[in-house]
Amino acid sequence: MSKSQLPVWEVFVQPKSGASFQHVGSLHAIDKEMALQNARDLYTRRLEGSCIWVVKSDHIISSKPDDQKSFFDPSDDKIYRYPSYFKVSKKVKDL
């Protein structure tokens, strides 16, 4: 008997309507329908979500943690992207 392991899927749950989807874990399933149903049974037994995304694990492209420094380098030296960079008199309200 062949030991055929089913493909791995990643599961994302939207906690409530309007919120961002969050990764909650993974599971095994043969197709998208089974993946969705398994995700529902496994990750939302207590109304944890209003919507679920599933995507095959090997379709996810990740940056490499080891390259974190160089990869994110361009965003490190532009402190003027933060509001605190700009000096404004305390008298100015609602800015």
Binding site: S4, L27, I30, D31, L42, R45, P65
Partner: protein, 307 residues
């Protein structure tokens, strides 16, 4: 070269950062995690058997529905943990194979039989209670996927413990026979529950690196003491007696002192000589064999849809 990697790795751990699947990690760290997480996952799955044993004989429809939901949770917990474990580069098939060939262990406690309905109460109260103490501590473990699985499991597990305590308190307030059943179950499960935390720190084979790498956050003995202090009071409240003549409040340490644990029994069961070792694994193999057609049918269907 590796030295440098290892230094950076330890620095990251020391600063409280989590290690994620694609991060560099020492081989021994990876292996330790695979061993520990898979053992944890197997325990959830094998743990369904002693409880499943009572689903058809639950004393009321309510009790049956609650027990089914609980056993279903255990399956879910097993799957969260398998998926965390697989992120370390091992397949589910390999993990299942290790369990079925005896290479991987599961918690010893599930090699004891569930003889009466009170055993279901005591499992929820003590076995899940002990597991919660361990799992609460593991929310702070250094491997990200494991820590996240623990957060999720802890959230769900407290219903299990309350379910068990409710059974125990109903029975110990019930008829004489029910009281005796409750006390008998406590007598049989008390010591094995204390053993769940593993050998004393001085005799624990896996502790040293596990603490340095923050896989484990507290020692076996420290966790055992937390569990014990909590549980003694809970037993008092429902009029049950902990079967330990040496159990005594220690004013100095502010903890309960307790009697000697029979580690010979513990090792006997670990070695496979418990009441149910063979039955548990045989059932697991049988379930996989008898269920393989479902997988094959799903595969055949998926192939057909592709064409």
């Amino acid at each position: 070269m590796t030295d440098n990697y290892e230094k950076n790795f330890q620095k990251k751990i020391d600063s409280g950062k989590k290690i994620e699947p694609k991060d560099w990690m020492p081989d021994k760290y990876r292996l330790h995690l695979i061993r520990q997480i898979s053992q944890h996952a197997h325990s959830e799955i094998i743990g369904m058997q002693p409880e499943g044993n009572w689903i058809t004989r639950a004393p009321s429809l309510r009790a049956k529905m609650v027990l089914i939901a609980k056993v279903q949770d255990e399956a879910g917990h097993g799957l969260y943990l398998y998926s965390a474990c697989e992120s370390l580069g091992i397949t589910r098939d390999e993990l299942i194979d290790q369990l079925q060939t005896g290479k991987a262990k599961y918690s010893n406690i599930f090699n004891y039989p569930t003889l009466s309905w009170a055993d279901i109460g005591v499992i929820g109260w003590l076995v899940d209670g002990a597991a919660i103490v361990n799992q609460q501590s593991l929310r702070g473990t250094s491997y990200g996927p494991y820590a996240r699985a623990m957060v999720r499991i802890c959230r769900e597990e407290s219903f299990h413990q309350r379910q068990g305590y409710e059974i125990m308190s109903k029975m110990s307030n019930g008829t004489k026979e029910q009281q005796q059943m409750a006390q008998d179950a406590l007598n049989r499960w008390w010591w094995p529950s204390l053993m769940m935390f593993g050998p004393h720190d001085a005799d624990s084979a896996h502790s040293s690196n596990a603490m340095k790498w923050k896989i484990k956050r507290e020692t076996n003995d420290a966790l055992r003491q937390i569990f014990l202090d909590r549980t003694v009071k809970q037993a008092d409240l429902i009029g049950l007696t902990i079967p330990d003549p040496d159990l005594k409040w220690n004013e100095k340490t502010k903890h309960y002192d307790f009697g000697k644990i029979d580690w010979d029994e513990f090792w006997q069961v670990v070695e496979g000589n418990g009441f149910c070792n063979k039955e548990r694994i045989a059932n697991h193999i049988k379930a996989h064999k008898e269920g393989i057609w479902v997988k094959q049918a799903a595969l055949a269907y998926a192939k057909k849809m592709e064409n």
